[in-house]
Symmetry: C2
Subunit: 265 residues, 2 copies
């Protein structure tokens, strides 16, 4: 007889957000999830600001892995919020993980770390037969200070992986939405202003290109948590959308990512 | 008859440091140099902390280009200094340049943005016949928070180049030393502790691999200031040392860099 494996203890920062909520829903049975949030929630959570290292440290005690989602999530976020929430906060999370002996960090990076490829390619990049695909080897080309903060988090993660021995996974996440429906008109209205998409049809095409379903997002996070053979990875978080222009072959080959969803054509 | 070209007005941040002093010495006749320093100097300077955007802005008025050297320069710099001096300071310099209509920024990045390749390869990487060469296309692998801050500066520069139209040059500088002598025993003693080099001979070999002479450094900065055809570049700053393991072919081809110096074998 074999003993049942104890569940991994996984701390989710920003656990009350859209992605945090999806992960708690889909992975709550599989892992021993703990939460860190900026404000009190209707579920148990360590309430602290990621910009305060001392305040977040207790949440890392006894944790096997961290999924770091806490950040200002909007591409338009000004420097005054990027600095504490994304730059300082991400350092504090990696440093707290290191000090606490956490084995792995899954970092919510963003497609906006390379968003200039899309800006240069829009709107034709959204067309069904457009051949462009950007993978984890392209040079970073942030489209915003938000995107810069994610490129920084990837570099910081590489340092903590290489120098301190944490395993680090950077997910360049597409568009995860609360309603989980890439055809919802309200979702289409949320296209980043910086893209300056000319019309509703283009916004429709874009969302169908960049959508990541909640269960595919949760699956990708889970694949990272199980990937004991990987020291560092950058992968894209996108469903198997016919219009997608980010690579998923690397996530398939390295992590066994097998998206179950695809936005409509 | 042609009018003489007016000299470019070039602001040097950190103008009192080792590299700033070398640039003032070698390029003072060719450009209309202005200085920004943290403390008063024995030359005219706008005295302000790069961590204070409002305080540095006046120094950018009427400037054609900025050479951004101001930062905590030591690889061992702790987070408490990296944050204001390197992360916030570099944002402030790019932002001040953008707001002031400056055309180009030459950013003093560092080999430490990719320092893990050296750490992995030492000490054999310093040997004369070692074939390894790292170029501008390798993924960033910082060896320190200092190195992370330089990778961040490169990503930030890419954003300001792509999105805001500045021309940006990131120089992954090797070792520029006040005495300009790569065989000086005092210089050898300054090898970064994190490299943990086993003996004096290895430290000697390393300095002869990574040395950048002051006039080669100044020449490389000048090549950037003249490179109107380049929107963004990452190049290594290293003299033509027989033991070097960073690429200079890209700087030669793109910028016309032609190092005049080489450390002894």
């Amino acid at each position: 007889m074999t003993e049942p494996q104890p569940k991994q203890r996984v701390l989710i920062t920003g656990a009350g957000g859209t992605i945090g909520t999806a992960i708690r829903r889909h992975l709550g049975d599989r892992y021993d999830l703990r939460a860190l949030t900026l404000t009190p929630q209707d579920f148990p959570s360590h309430v602290a600001d990621v910009a305060d290292l001392d305040a977040i440290l207790p949440a890392f005690a006894g944790v096997d892995a961290v999924v770091h989602l806490a950040a200002s999530p909007a591409v338009e976020t000004p420097w005054e919020d990027i600095l504490p929430n994304n730059l300082i906060g991400t350092y504090n999370v990696f440093e707290a993980a290191r000090r606490s002996g956490v084995g792995a960090v899954v970092f919510a990076s963003s497609n906006h770390a390379i968003g200039m490829y899309e800006l240069d390619g829009a709107p034709s990049i959204y067309e069904l037969d457009d051949p462009r695909v950007y993978d984890h080897t392209v040079p970073v080309r942030p489209d915003s200070l938000y995107g810069v903060s994610k490129a920084y988090g990837e570099a910081l993660g590489r340092y903590y992986a290489d120098f301190h021995g944490l395993r680090v996974f950077c997910l360049r996440i597409g568009a995860v939405r609360a309603g989980d429906d890439p055809t919802d008109p309200a979702v289409l209205a949320s296209s980043p202003a910086l893209l300056d998409l000319p019309d509703a049809e283009t916004r429709r095409q874009r969302m169908r290109a960049v959508w990541l379903s909640q269960r595919d997002c949760a699956q990708l996070v889970s694949r990272c948590l199980e990937a004991d053979h990987v020291d560092y990875a950058i992968v894209y978080g996108v469903s198997n959308n016919p219009r997608r222009f980010w690579d998923i072959e690397h996530a398939k080959a390295l992590l066994g990512y097998a998206p179950e969803d695809a936005a409509p054509v």
